[in-house]
Amino acid sequence: MQWETVIGLEVHTQLSTNTKIFSGASTTYGAEPNTQADAVSIALPGVLPVLNKGAVERAIKFGLAVGAHIAPRSVFARKNYFYPDLPKGYQISQFDLPVVGKGALTIQVEPLSGNAKSYEKVVRITRAHLEEDAGKSVHGESQGVTGVDLNRAGTPLLEIVSEPDMSSAAEAVAYAKALHSLVRWIGICDGNMQEGSFRCDVNVSVRRPGEPLGTRREIKNLNSFKFMQQAIDYEVQWQIDTIENGGKIHQATILFDADKGTTHAMRNKEEAHDYRYFPDPDLLPLDITPAMLEQVRDTLPELPQAKQSRYVNDLGLSAYDASILTASREMANFFETVLAAVPNDAKMCANWLIGEVSAQLNRNGLDITQCQITPQQLGDMLKRIADGTLSNSGAKEVFRTLWTSLEAHATASSSATADLSVDAIIEAKGLKQVSDSGAIEKIVDEIISANPAQVAEYRSGKEKVFGFFVGLAMKASKGKANPAQLNEVLKKKLAG
């Protein structure tokens, strides 16, 4: 029997403002309980919400980045329910008029198994709305009572809701990753999943091809991509098994148990919650003027997709290279800084970053932001390759030397950085190539006259012998001859 999986995501991204969405209390993570709970966070009698403009700008940024309609007027509504970590007895959210409307995100799907090829897919975004986070109930700290920590209460969230456009765990994970990368790229969320800055709720249903949508169950609060994939795989199989065994799927909110790798219902049946939404009379409608929109648009960095096509079309890079170089904004910035030193050698920059630099970072378990070598230093080095001063192998040595001395430097915190310039290393290690055409011609002439037999062989058509001459010439120059130049001179002279 064939089954289709239908998946939609609701992602809560914590916006990177310093203060809460409706008050001046700090949003720093990890403070002592209730030390960041001001009068508004506690919901004292008489306090009022004042909207944080920074949260609005971030929401607009996101909307622009996914090509969405930004509502010129959106409305904050109250979602009413009682819970100890919800101090006002209502959450301020947006209901029928969200700030961000329909948009889309293009994702690159890497199938999780088999030899299937990666493919591109467009996931439609239904909406994104601003809301405040709740606090935390703390269970088990002391006997018989539940504690309430309101530090997180009022932290700004952008809830991003997708259409049910994904049909596998791989697609869901690819979408979540793309979203995660995007919100960090545009600087609206730190993306720290351990701290709950990026939380995913996944709606899953299955159906037979051609049938209407099945009943969905919502897996709540997934905070790692690995768990997301495991949870979806388990849930899909569970739903299929349930139906094939004659059971029925009931709408439910479920949790993933990472230890057992299983899902289980939080509430057996979706309780008939009536949140009694109505417009919050303490807040005016949120009006976004065209001027404000343009102001935010000006702060929007070039987006990954635009960069990728520019790298391919203008710089002549492969699509693969372009996608790796735009995996994060930091990587792209690094690349572009290096490129500034050697503007005509994009491919060389890409090769070095994807090759030598990435390999070194991987060995040390670092990411690009922790790279020992600055993009300026790498640029200086590539400039020396481009102008013929360094050979590729010489450059690798410069790179290794730079890396280890910078590492030693970082740990020993010694002084003297002058010897860490690329040129100083080339000098100290004698890595300068011989590019003097007179010197090379001299070596070549000597070799040709010393090896008449091989010259004759070459001239009779055995071009394989060419390598023999290169080897000798390199040896004679102690490996410093500029290979391109050497080839040229050799060819010319051997031709007679």
Binding site: A39, P45, G89, Y90, Y277, D282
Partner: protein
């Protein structure tokens, strides 16, 4: 001294004819002797008030005195005042000590005024008789069998009984104007957004507005000067330049067009109240005003619309009183749900519960469109009626309340009858307009009658001018109850 205007009191203080400490002590002594019978105050704190008075005297000794420096003001117990118990008339907040100052309180503090105490009020400002207060009903100083009106009943009583120089109130559907009328004093509810709601305990956020209550329009102007002003902490506060509300007090009224809405003089209005209002209008004609007959056709829907919208907002605003973080918590419960249920069942009074029930109902799935949305539409129609009316006239006049003060206990069993006592005031809140009430005589039972003056948005200075000229020509506002 007790009948001096705020201006006269300020002059006496600045001339050192009396000190703020002496004046404050004078009122504290009066409160000590009269409040047990009248119950106008929920909380006084003599040492705190006198400390403020001493600080005011220090300012008065220098050259930093402002118009209200050293003057004792009674604050409605709906305003959070740092270090003061702030109950909102409810058992729920019986022991709540506010850790911060409301904007209104801070404004008075900055002006050097003395906080004389916190006045009684209907629980969470829900009521028109002050009988829903957890701290007991307030008596009308004109007749202690009568209610003072509500919800700012304690404030109205305190002003009428000379238990303060002036007072603050709040008005969601008439809570400044109706008690002002029933106690024979002056009170104004300014345009919505003029006085910051920050630190004012919310009843119905889109309608709540603070304002002053005093013995004359002239005093109201000085108080408004202190209370108003933009406050970034209230998103509905209006960013407007500071204005002097006393600037037009003495302008002649020649040419003033007074609109009389026929709906305000129809069935349901007591004869004696109508008589006083008509006499007041005759006085205005003598002062040079002319009369325009107008209509507010949707005003008859104001009470039902109000009793959908105000409870809807209240049901949500009052959710924070859940026994978790502060306020009343039931002594015994077995789980979280029961803690909520018992705390709220025991902490709130009957009228508050009634409105939470109504509000929860009208916001519920399946009823929202029929009640809440429909009420919002009519609210706009009511505002449009006023827009149209103000094209024909400068101010609107009529009775503040359909009758003089009713007896304590008279309407307690009939909420609808109680709600109808605000029939002329509610539309003003729904439209966000400024409205005021000034004394205009006495009914057949000897209880005061109020004249309501409604102005266009931001027309407070004009309304105060209109009221002041009347008070120069009449002496109703100077009358005081016997036995106080």
């Amino acid at each position: 001294m007790l009948n001096s205007s705020l201006q006269q009191l300020g002059s006496a203080l600045r001339a050192k004819k009396i000190s703020s400490v002496e004046l404050t002590q004078l009122y504290l002594d009066r409160i000590a002797s009269l409040n047990p019978a009248l119950n106008a105050y929920i909380t006084t704190n003599a040492s705190t008030s006198l400390a403020q008075a001493r600080a005011a005297d220090a300012l008065l000794a220098g050259s930093k005195a402002q118009p209200l420096t050293g003057i004792p003001i009674a604050q409605k117990d709906i305003f959070c005042a740092k270090g003061w118990r702030t109950t909102c008339g409810s058992k729920m907040l019986e022991n709540f000590i506010a850790p911060y100052d409301a904007h209104v309180i801070a404004q008075f503090n900055n002006a050097g005024a003395v906080n004389l105490g916190k006045t009684n009020m209907d629980e969470f400002a829900m009521g028109s008789s002050n009988e829903t207060s957890y701290f007991g009903a307030v008596k009308n100083p004109w007749d202690r069998n009568a209610v003072p009106g509500g919800s700012s009943g304690g404030a109205a009583c305190a002003v009428a009984a000379r238990l303060c120089a002036a007072a603050t109130g709040t008005d969601t559907g008439g809570s400044i104007r109706q008690p002002a009328a029933l106690c024979g004093i002056s009170g104004i509810k300014p345009t919505y957004g003029t006085v910051s709601r920050y630190g004012m305990i919310a009843f119905a956020s889109s309608l709540d507005q603070a304002g002053p209550m005093a013995r004359s329009a002239e005093d109201l102007a000085l108080l408004l000067n202190v209370m108003t002003g933009f406050d970034a902490r209230d998103s509905t506060s209006l960013p407007r330049d500071k204005e002097d509300y006393a600037r037009d007090l003495n302008k002649p009224l020649a040419g003033l067009r007074i609109g009389l809405p026929k709906e305000f003089f129809a069935e349901g209005l007591a004869q004696d109240v109508a008589g006083c209002v008509n006499a007041a209008i005759a006085e205005y004609i003598k002062l040079g005003a002319s009369i325009v007959d107008i209509s507010l056709p949707n005003s008859k829907l104001a009470v039902p619309v109000y009793y959908v919208l105000a409870p809807a907002e209240a049901s949500s605003n009052l959710s924070r009183y859940d026994g978790v973080r502060y306020g009343y918590r039931a002594p015994e419960y077995s789980d979280l749900t029961e803690m909520y249920e018992k705390s709220r069942a025991q902490g709130f009074g009957a009228e508050v519960k009634r409105r939470i029930m109504i509000g929860t109902y009208v916001l519920s799935h399946g009823y929202y469109d029929a009640y809440y949305l429909q009420a919002q539409k009519i609210r706009r129609l009511i505002a449009q009626d006023f827009d149209y009316a103000f094209k024909q006239c400068d101010v609107i006049m009529g009775p503040t309340s359909p009758s003089t003060a009713f007896n304590l206990g008279e309407k307690g069993d009939d909420p609808v009858q109680m709600y109808l006592s605000d029939i002329y005031t509610i539309a003003v809140n729904l439209a966000g307009l400024p409205g005021m009430s000034i004394p205009a005589g006495f009914g057949s039972n000897g209880r005061p009658v109020g004249l309501q003056i409604i102005g266009d948005y931001f027309a407070e200075a004009k309304m105060l001018n209109v009221a002041h000229k009347y008070q120069l020509a009449t002496d109703w506002h100077t009358r005081q109850p016997n036995g106080i």
